[in-house]
Amino acid sequence: MNKAISTTQAVEMIPDGASLMIGGFMGVGSPRRIIEELVRQGRKHLTVIANDSARPDVAIGKLIDAKAVDRLIASHIGTNPETQRQMIAGELKVDLCPQGSLAERIRSGGAGLGGALTPTGFGTVAAEGKTVIQVDGKDFLLEKPLTADFALLGARRADYRGNLDYSLTARNFNPIMALAGKIVIAEPNEIVPVGVIPPDVVITPHVLVDYMIERRQTNGR
């Protein structure tokens, strides 16, 4: 099966109001072409689960600029004043979650676990409303699993079948979101023949990837 589609086709699958996990960290490793197409097609009322909202006009920041997001679940918004402005104005609901807990919540959702038991945040405002579970006398917060309608990933390479690898710090949340999206769309920088990414080097197995964005073709120009 050929999983390659255009950004237009990819975004046409995503309805207003959808929940999206978007890989990347301050824009590094984010699926930029998909994000731009979401803005171009005027998608609205999205829930976005991501580490951060980057900066204005950068990656997820473009969705914030376009007022496409109703709710953001993230660990950090300090680098995007527009996110903070919309939050304070009541236009955007923001749920803040410690970064390591956010990662484990996504992994739990994708791995069929009931959540993560973490010591992080215990005794702080991050614990508000959360269940505390004692294990052998130590206190842990129950951080509930997260899943989303779509996971939108940036990747270095995909092979024809959809196996993915990543480059350096562009890996970040992408591999765990690949587990937790009902429909997973990858935006690789390159698409390569099967076998170019050896079995031990594949980070995200092709069975998790439903679609991938076709290469830009330059025909040598």
């Binding site: 960290f25 301050m26 824009g27 590094v28 490793g29 580490n51 951060d52 980057a54 900066r55 993230a74 660990s75 950090h76 918004i77 300090g78 680098t79 903070q84 939050m87 803040l96 410690p98 970064q99 390591g100 807990s101 956010l102 990662a103 484990e104 992994r107 973490t118 010591p119 992080t120 945040g121 215990f122 005794g123 702080t124 405002v125 991050a126 270095r156 990543y166 480059s167 350096l168 710090t169 562009a170 890996r171 970040n172 949340f173 992408n174 591999p175 765990i176 980070i203």
Partner: protein, 217 residues
């Protein structure tokens, strides 16, 4: 010497060869520039790499290689990439030897507040809560006071980053070690007296018989 550089130089003395170290954004980042000679530490950036270095030169920047602030970095031979779960498994699982973080307040129990000023600044905790909770050692690097108010307080009035007692606080006036008994004044900054530190500190300090001066080159 500029206060920030003094603090960075003193913190740098706490790093040991072989340590895995995470430096927070801002002042803590300076620590990397003042490593003692022959101290070979590994820097982790929690967005996903062990073995980060300064960007190696103009034209060598890589869109896929930045620190947690989104600033271009480089990577040393032997570096390795981590996904976010693995990165925080190292942090939360006690594999990180040391984190150096900025601070807004540290109190007599050694608890740190550094991520939020209600009604003013809500940037999110990022990785700070995990770092403070999980690192083997937590060093707070900050100015002793802000706008005339001591940042070493009886009880934190700002939201806590973690209930965990931090291991050391290094300021422009002093080195302070939070212990079960309270905050122990370990060193004073060059030219600063013990009485000056006491006067500039809201919290009660335990003063040993000998309080040496920081040994800063």
């Amino acid at each position: 010497m500029e206060d920030k550089i003094l603090i960075a130089k003193r913190v740098a003395q706490e790093l040991n060869s072989g340590d895995l170290v995470n430096l927070g954004i801002g002042l803590p980042t300076l620590v990397a520039s003042y490593l003692p000679k022959d101290t070979d530490v590994y820097f982790q950036s929690e967005n996903g790499i062990i073995g980060m270095s300064a960007v190696p030169g103009a034209g060598l920047e890589d869109d896929d290689l930045t620190d947690a602030g989104g600033i271009f970095i480089g990577a040393l031979p032997g570096a390795c990439s981590l996904d976010s779960c693995m990165s925080f498994s190292l942090i939360r699982g006690g594999h990180l030897d040391l984190t150096v973080l900025g601070g807004l307040q540290v109190d007599e129990k050694g608890a740190l507040a550094n991520w939020m000023v209600p009604g003013k600044m809500v940037p999110g905790m990022g990785g700070g809560m995990d770092l403070t909770t999980g690192a083997k050692r937590v060093i707070v690097a900050m100015t002793h006071a802000a706008k005339g108010a001591s940042k070493i307080v009886k009880t934190c009035t700002l939201p806590l980053t973690s209930v965990r007692r931090v291991n050391l606080v290094v300021t422009d006036l002093a080195v302070i070690e939070p212990t079960e008994e309270g905050l122990v004044l370990k060193e004073t900054a060059p030219g600063i007296t013990v009485d000056q530190v006491i006067a500039a500190t809201e919290a009660k300090l335990i003063i040993p018989a000998q309080v040496p001066e920081m040994n800063i080159a």
